[in-house]
Amino acid sequence: MTPLLEIENLRVSFPTTQGRIEVVKGVSFTLGRERLGIVGESGSGKSMTGRAILRLIRSPGEVTAERMMFDGTDLLSRSERAMRPLRGARMSMIMQDPKFSLNPVMTVGAQIAEAVRAHESVPRRALANRVREMLEAVRINDPDRVARMYPHEVSGGMGQRVMIAMMLIPRPDLLIADEPTSALDVSVQAQVLDLIDELIVNNGMGLLLISHDLNLVARYCDRILVMNSGEVVESCDAADLHAATHPYTRGLLAAIPRIDETRDVLPVLDRSAWSGT
């Protein structure tokens, strides 16, 4: 069986006053109908990797790769027009900034409905029901009230769940989730991740989960890539993350506070050693 996603030697660069800089430097991986986690410090190129796969890097940013295949089709050679029916319907991305990605002048219910209508025709009544069910599924307590709200009226965690609802409702084959649960407390977080899991098991969806929460990724994913300064420095089975050997990964693990914390200062990475950020 061909993998869902094959990426070979992906590079992303931007012009700056100091010349063109590469922020993703030759990333390669394949993804089946499974859960792949990407971790790494701030600025290491996680979001840019996700956006590049959906071809969402705008000029003057530049993307090159030797190979970028999604379910047997070549993403690199597709025109912007040919990308559009794929995005949303077959591959979708939960962005790191939910409020910024939502339309400020449209109620959240209308936006979720729009996400369905863009790709299939559904009778109005059935659509409203599907929107309500989806909001319930992401654990919004009062779905009818929230559906009528505008993005600035929902809380941080509610906005994040609205975004998740919008991306899941068309039942994509590939979901790229960029810090999807960073504003949620652990119990809601677990429920939302279970929902995504159902889609993986029942619909054979593939997941690329970008997160800075190492414990979450270890618990939830099958495999993990660790990124630093635009490169993958370590890849391992999720179950083995706590036994990771790369000093960078060890440094990240040590920096996590614990609920029974007694340290006065948290250990930080020695940036000079990896020139991160």
């Binding site: 931007f14 700056t16 006053t17 100091q18 971790v39 790494g40 410090e41 701030s42 600025g43 290491s44 979001s47 790191q96 900034d97 409020k99 910024f100 307590n141 009226e153 929902v154 809380s155 941080g156 965690g157 509610m158 906005g159 769940r161 810090e179 960073s182 504003a183 949620l184 407390d185 652990v186 119990s187 809601v188 677990a190 800075h212 929460d213 190492l214 440094g251 990240l252 920096a255 996590i256 506070p257 614990r258 609920i259 029974d260 914390e261 007694t262 340290r263 006065d264 200062v265 948290l266 250990p267 930080v268 990475l269 991160g276 950020t277």
Partner: protein, 252 residues
């Protein structure tokens, strides 16, 4: 002296209450956490103190002075807020340099260039970020700019809304260490919203747990080592955050 005192505070949006009858006393120099369910009103409490949620009844006073219902320029020197959503709070067409200089200009402060580069250093951003726009920064880099901006006026009180939830663990560790050091050196007071109980254990002296618009329990953060909570929602949150593992370790 109390830094922040809230008495029977009820806060509404368009006539509908979102926060009910909250009373809290936060001491000068204390680090206090608000934790709880998503949508329970944590950001709303911070917004009311900052003058951004004007529909409230009850009493708010800061460093002994009663607060009015709107924003107030002099108040900005004493108390600064870091918002939950770093993108929304940074102007898309302003460079990092102008975002950080602006509060200095508004308050007529000098030596702006030096202060801006000092603030970038403090939050671990190199000088190469100084003339970038928000869309040229990663999520964590934007959040560090937002924290640097709040520090520009050297406030005595910081209202921090999920200041590190967009940050990876290594940058989070740096920011938490920085906030801790600033508090020790400059006697700052923090009122911090977070959903991360380990962050509370590291940073805070006391915490209030919110659920459905109310404070259901107030506890010292040492309760996170023992699991000493009486409210059922607080117990649930503690167990789900890994507290159950600690409790069972102790039991063995």
């Amino acid at each position: 002296m109390t830094a922040i005192s809230l008495k029977s505070l009820t806060i509404s949006y368009g006539g509908i209450p979102a926060v009910h009858d909250v009373s809290l006393e936060i001491g000068d120099g204390e680090s206090f956490a608000l934790v709880g369910e998503s949508g329970s009103g944590k950001s709303t409490v911070l917004r009311a103190i900052a003058g951004l949620a004007p529909e409230w009844t009850g009493e708010i006073s800061v460093l002994g002075a009663p607060r009015g219902h709107g924003p107030d320029r002099a108040f900005a020197r004493t108390c600064q807020m870091v918002f939950q959503d770093p993108y929304g709070s940074l102007h898309p067409r302003k460079t990092v340099d102008s975002v950080l200089s602006e509060p200095l200009i508004v308050h007529g402060l000098s030596e702006r260039s030096g202060r801006v580069s000092e603030a970038l250093d403090m939050v671990g951003l190199g000088q190469e970020f100084r003339f970038r726009f928000p869309h040229q920064l990663s999520g964590g880099q934007r959040q560090r700019v937002a924290i640097a901006r709040a520090l520009m006026l050297k406030p005595r009180i910081m209202l921090l809304d999920e200041p590190t939830s967009a940050l990876d663990v290594s940058v989070q560790a740096e920011i938490l260490n920085l906030l801790k050091r600033l508090r020790r050196d400059q006697g700052l007071t923090y009122l911090m919203v977070t959903h991360n109980l380990p962050v509370v254990a590291f940073m805070c002296d006391r915490m209030a747990v919110m659920n459905a618009g109310r404070v259901v329990e107030t506890a010292p953060s040492s309760a996170l080592r023992t699991g000493d909570f009486s409210d059922p929602y607080a117990q649930h949150l503690y167990a789900a955050s890994g507290g159950d593992e600690i409790a069972s370790k102790d039991g063995q």
